[in-house]
Symmetry: C2
Subunit: 542 residues, 2 copies
């Protein structure tokens, strides 16, 4: 027997309509190439979104067609998100930091019909346009006064497109499972794979991120999403902020600029922000050198890479709570958040420093389990580790135009590719990537933990640990180190001695090799596949 409740679809359109009516006076502030501080309201934004939707409607697109963006975080990108998704098309955000051949691959694989891009990315677009014959038009996100000269065919000016559209538009009624957004994830191997979000998944994810233990967004918040809108929808903030009625502050292309970030925080009264560790290092360096403070800032979410303890300790001094978030493109992205535990006082400062570095507790809606090689579920004791699998309504079931078996080996669960522990309070900690874990005598060694100890050495710039064939233990850890400028005299014996007492004896690398640099992907990820290839003929001494 079914309940007798209204069948109202969960949709991005409902977010827009709510914000326009209930939070219409709330501001969106943007840094753009043509205006250092553009300022308008949600009401203005969604009026222009309807104008844009009228423009798109004239293009003869079919429901589900992809409209791509190569753009910074600003109000025009925001409008494009909603106009595309709520018209029944798919807003496909492309990472402009990828190699041009990857960008061309993604545009063609997604079969993008139109591409909206910031003037900053004109050189990139010009370099790939000839490889993308399916694109019917290139829309430059600026006004006529700032249109750059270009030899690109079929170019349009965004502001001209918007100005030509009527402000009245009847949004279509969409089934909640309709696709609304697409984002490609670039692993360290193979071609990028597309994750296709639905209206339902996007709305539910936004709800979940608003919870006080996640981002905790209210109408009293001012939110600065430093994480790019091309990076898993800026962790949902373009959806969650209008839902909450939070003021949005978009940094445009200035997310790496500590001075701009500090000015935006202090002048706009930012209370919450989200970004990767690199941007926080930049902001902290600027605050230290300038002597400025960030008194309105209450909390930040740090994700995308492991957060160094130093960031948390620096922000502690500024009165800002640092919350580690963990997720994946395939998870919309949020899976867990490390907010202050209810029993904080039970921990010593040293214990707390360890707890706060963990990936956090699963947010409601995300189920997690850790399993051994044989598929046996591991206990949540903070010690046992296993492959991390996740399940939930905003987690991908398969990749765009790929077989579903690419996403999960076990039906109904997504394989994160991470190895993790989970403790009795639900705190999950990533210990390794599944493919990087080292199996020594049948036992697992976390390459990440060994690397963390190595990089703590004052003479080490960067370090990587890979599993390498060993006749007795089948695999043993091989440490590969880049010495820093002051550490050119670091010896292998000195390096190995560093591990004494810091990790289990049998986790200590079997040997150490020094190199001038380590191989990385376009987005800065260490390429261990290449590294293993480089050392394939290596033999452990003795």
């Amino acid at each position: 027997m079914n309940g007798l409740m209204m069948n109202v679809p969960l949709s991005v359109t409902s977010i827009m309509e709510h914000a326009e009516r209930v939070n219409g006076n709330v501001e969106i502030v943007s840094v753009t190439g043509d205006n250092p501080r553009h300022r308008y309201t949600y009401r203005d934004a969604f009026l222009r979104t309807r104008q844009l939707a009228n423009g798109l409607a004239g293009w003869g697109l079919a429901q589900g067609d992809r409209i791509a963006t190569l753009a910074w975080n600003d109000y025009r990108h925001f409008e494009t998100y909603y106009a595309a998704a709520c018209s029944g098309y798919v807003c496909h955000t492309i990472n402009p930091r990828l190699f041009p051949e990857q960008v061309a691959y993604i545009i063609n694989h997604a079969e993008d019909q139109y591409v909206f891009f910031d003037p900053d990315f004109l050189p990139l677009v010009e370099s790939v346009a000839a490889e993308c014959p399916g694109v019917k038009g290139w829309i430059i996100l600026t006004n006529e006064a700032h249109m750059p000269g270009t030899s690109l065919p079929r170019v349009q000016c965004y502001e001209t497109l918007v100005a030509a559209g009527d402000g009245v538009f009847e949004w279509p009624q969409l089934d909640e499972n309709t696709a609304c957004a697409l984002c490609y994830t670039s692993g360290t191997t193979g071609n990028p794979k597309g994750v296709l979000y639905s209206h339902r998944s996007t709305m539910l994810h936004a709800y979940a991120t608003m919870m006080p233990d996640a981002m905790g967004l209210s109408s009293r918040d001012v939110v600065l999403p430093i994480v790019p809108m091309f990076h898993v929808n800026a962790w949902g903030t373009p959806y969650s902020c209008p839902m909450a009625g939070a003021k949005l502050v978009f940094p445009g292309g200035k997310m790496g600029d500590g001075a701009t970030l500090a000015a935006l925080i202090n002048e706009e009264g930012v209370t919450m922000s989200a970004g990767v560790p690199t941007v926080w290092l930049g902001l902290i360096a600027y605050l230290k050198s300038s002597g400025l403070r960030v008194d309105t800032l209450d909390r930040i979410i740090v994700g995308g890479a492991a957060c160094p303890l130093s960031i948390m300790e620096d922000f502690d001094k500024y009165g800002v709570e640092t919350r580690v978030g963990w997720g994946m493109t395939e998870m919309s992205p949020l899976g867990s958040v490390n907010s202050s535990p209810a029993d904080r006082e039970r921990y010593s400062d040293e214990e707390f420093a360890k707890v706060r570095l963990k990936a956090g507790r699963p947010i409601f809606g995300v189920e997690m389990k850790i399993v051994s090689d044989t598929g046996a579920e591991q206990p949540w004791d903070g010690v046992a580790f296993g492959s991390l699998k996740v399940r939930g309504p905003w987690i991908c079931s398969s990749y765009f135009k790929l077989d579903s078996s690419d996403a999960h080996a076990e039906e109904g669960w997504f394989e994160t590719g991470d190895v993790a522990t989970i403790d009795a309070q639900g705190y999950m900690a990533i210990t390794d990537r599944t493919k990087d874990v080292i199996k020594s005598g049948g036992e697992w060694i976390s390459s990440i933990e060994v690397e963390n100890v190595a990089t703590d050495h004052p003479k080490v710039a960067e370090a990587a640990v890979i599993g390498h064939f060993h006749p007795k233990w089948s695999e043993r850890p091989l440490l590969i180190v880049v010495r820093n400028a002051d550490g050119q005299d670091l010896t292998a014996a000195e390096m190995l001695a560093w591990f004494d007492g810091k990790i289990a004896k049998w986790w200590t690398p079997e040997a150490v090799e020094f190199v001038d640099e380590l191989p990385h992907t376009a987005t800065g990820k260490l390429q261990k596949v290449t590294l293993r290839q480089m050392f394939k003929d290596y033999s452990f001494p003795g």
Copy 2:
């Protein structure tokens, strides 16, 4: 084109499973008839829930069958909620404060198969059991030591039932639209009507109530639901607290006892509570007389009836934020919450006193509109008023075993039966019940606003305003007053003079009549139908 996201149903079962794994160590504290401070964890609770589910499984019930409760807020009631809903049955909460004939009507209309009840309600159950031949068993929510003597047939002891059940139970996979809970709403006329909630609606509503601008629940909260679990699922707290990992404190039958509430708040560290105005008046009176404080308490949600400003001002002094909530049984119940506005500093204290008394802003997920007699949508200007209609995924589409037209005259919208204004910031204020609004010369007069002015008079105990036939204006307001002990000398002329300058001249009642008492329903609502009947032969003077 659909998104490629997992098809994971939204369910109450997922709340239970999340809480058991992630928030397993968090406490639930209960006051019961057999234990003044029972204490265990979510892990314990859901183990016992599985034991209970095994007990229910032996009864041969079909999916969708109703299991009723007549019970206070405590851990056994909580277990019954989950065991029934997650087994695929429906947990039907009955208000024990209704007249016995209404309770019997509800049990029979719902076709309840089993009834779980607190020993306190044995006299009520004994008085209705003979009228309820369909009930296959009566389960008393206590242990063997505290089983009362009774002549009831087919009686079982709850603790014996739980103890006999195995702790392992495989919860069924339920479609998210499956019914999970049933609650009858008793209007001022006609038989009570049943609202049948689904797993989907219940989970979405719980998500929404967790938002910082609603209840703002986190794992650092300790929540005291004073609103009964038979009153629209205690506003969702038995679902939202396990989702958040908030500690739950159940007051049992002591919700009207200021001393018990103050002790629970102070001893258990309660941070958030929810209840009707009456309980707050009781708590405040106790705090004033005892000199005690409630320092851990951060905020309260007041709903179920209009909140007097005095409650807010008293709680201001105790450092507690009062949030008015508005909703209906048909809305699960939450529709709007009045949390502190972002621009509080723009208001003078006097203006703010008016704003904070409003029903608040619609929470995301609830759409509202106000329409005139002719169905024309009214502007959100805080002045224009109209019939309030609502729409959303946790709002009822029809009543249990009734035609859907009972729930909404306009397809897709639920008629709240209220008349309201909404201002440009989205603050909604109820001005009247649709059927009580007075139409004078084609213009609407709010009976509630006139009543509020009348009851402010120092000699008035209670007042009601009804529309009454008038030859020129078609209807004019007639004020009916109960004088208080000190006000027996209040005259009609004195009463009418009181309105000068307080409301629009044409809203002032045409006449005033004095009575010894006004007619009320079992739940204390004024019965204006009866009142209109009483005065049907009345003529305005002159």
